[in-house]
Amino acid sequence: MHTVYARINNISAMLSTCVMVLLAAVSLSTFVFTADPKGTLAVSSIQVFPGNARRYANKNQDFTFVNFNLTADLSPLFNWSTKQLFLYVSAEYENKRGVKNEVVIWDRIVRRKEDADLSVAGRNKYVFRELSASFKDAAPAHYSLKYNIMPYVGVLTYGEAARTAEPVPFPERQELS
């Protein structure tokens, strides 16, 4: 502490330790804020059409188009260390060969608490196709809204906010007229 350089050196060392302790305290405090908000998710219409994917121009496969209604109030998930919420609607089903599938069909990033009160009439943002090219004889699917809390400092946490009450069956493939 005898020269300016020594004082700056000592203070910056103590300061970096204090900043690390502060960050650790913030991340530990996130375990205190537990919230489990629930919402509703219902499929309003579902159709299956044949078509070709852009990538595989010669492969004729089934595409499912889902319209859904989603309501959920996820603002309890916003605490001081929440940077954003990543929400996604995924379809879980077993195809005719018994393979379990989980397909994300819609997602959204919520950055502010005010935007976390959701009321969405949406349709699938992403192509919903089956790897075996056909949804025939696939088991009825459950649609669920899941979220991922991304903190400023802390651990990533996942949760499920809404689920369709009953599984939704896939209709027969409709021909485009």
Binding site: M1, H2, R7, I8, I11, A25, N79, W80, Y152
Partner: protein
């Protein structure tokens, strides 16, 4: 003039000043961490936490890093020069 600049940039302070500076810098940083954490937790805002902490650090730096004259009030008392007997 250049001697004055050299003295200021070196910034020597006496031992009593050093003890004081060490004590207040340690206490301010620990108290500042605790206060800014609790304030942010209460107001649920990380900006409050780190803003308050930055204010504490800037105030500490201004109070402690420049060699203020109050840190040189207790200079070391050297013993008087002893005449050496010529051999």
């Amino acid at each position: 003039m250049s001697e004055l600049i050299q003295k200021l940039t070196e910034g020597k302070i006496d031992f009593e000043g050093q003890k004081f500076v060490e004590r207040i810098s340690r206490d301010t940083l620990i108290a500042g961490t605790a206060i800014s954490f609790l304030a942010g937790l209460g107001l649920q805002s990380l900006q409050v936490t780190f803003g308050l902490f930055a204010l504490f650090v800037v105030a500490l730096a201004i109070a402690v890093i420049p060699p203020w004259p109050s840190y040189n009030r207790h200079p070391v008392k050297w013993l008087p020069v002893k005449e050496t007997k010529a051999e």
